[in-house]
Subunit: 117 residues, 2 copies
DNA sequence: CTGTATCCGCGACGATACTG
DNA sequence: CAGTATCGTCGCGGATACAG
């Protein structure tokens, strides 16, 4: 381990392995939750998201939104009214992800029910 | 934020929200990869997994396997031969997860292809 | 061969104050 | 309202040596 060549190889796996790729772009504590919120609510503003995502901070919400926008999972629309108004919604690209997320939510709910027994 | 009541509430979301629950039990860098390896190879030994999961360390593999076993995602079978032999395989519980993982892998591959163009 | 024990860096994540 | 700026912390993940 630890030579430059080996590290490069490990990093390059993100561009080869679909699971590593997905974990890399959608992993972390908040991104899937944000996408799910935007899926169920269609269009949301910054503070609206913040209220929905219990426990998230300004910093993490802004950072997550920015990364999701750069990777084209969501779209940001800014209206220069006063006060400022910014709307977030899912990009087209994300639609292909929704069935998987729905399956995941369904699976998670089943697990939670069985745990409750 | 930061009162005990609020923190308890946030933690309790893991027992309510299917996404938080899933992230909590299967999040992190290695668990999905381990499950995928065991799915494609059926039965694997410790060092076999280590060789397959490029970049993983003893510590992380052991820790991930232990947590996955505690939550009954995988099963561990030990043969007290000399040298020691331990086999890992998926638990029945994990079968319901496989279609989702397959969808995820397929989705990730599509994204990687489009990126390559 | 299959792990533990130990130690540790670093980056994810968070709290708070402040700005256009 | 929609964020930045700043600073702090905490634990995930890693490196290495060693054990049964």
């Amino acid at each position: 381990m630890n030579t430059i060549e080996e590290n490069n190889y490990i990093n390059s796996l993100t561009d080869k392995c679909p699971i590593r790729y997905t974990l890399n772009s959608l992993g972390g504590k908040w991104k899937l939750l944000i996408i799910w919120e935007l899926y169920t609510n269609e269009v949301m503003r910054f503070n609206e998201l913040k209220r929905s995502l219990t426990g998230i901070t300004n910093t993490m919400l802004a950072k997550s939104l920015e990364e999701l926008e750069v990777e084209d999972f969501i779209q940001r629309k800014q209206y220069n009214t006063m006060p400022l108004r910014v709307e977030y919604r899912l990009s087209d690209r994300t639609e292909t992800l929704i069935p998987i997320l729905e399956a995941l939510v369904s699976w998670g709910n089943t697990q939670l029910e069985q745990k409750a027994e």
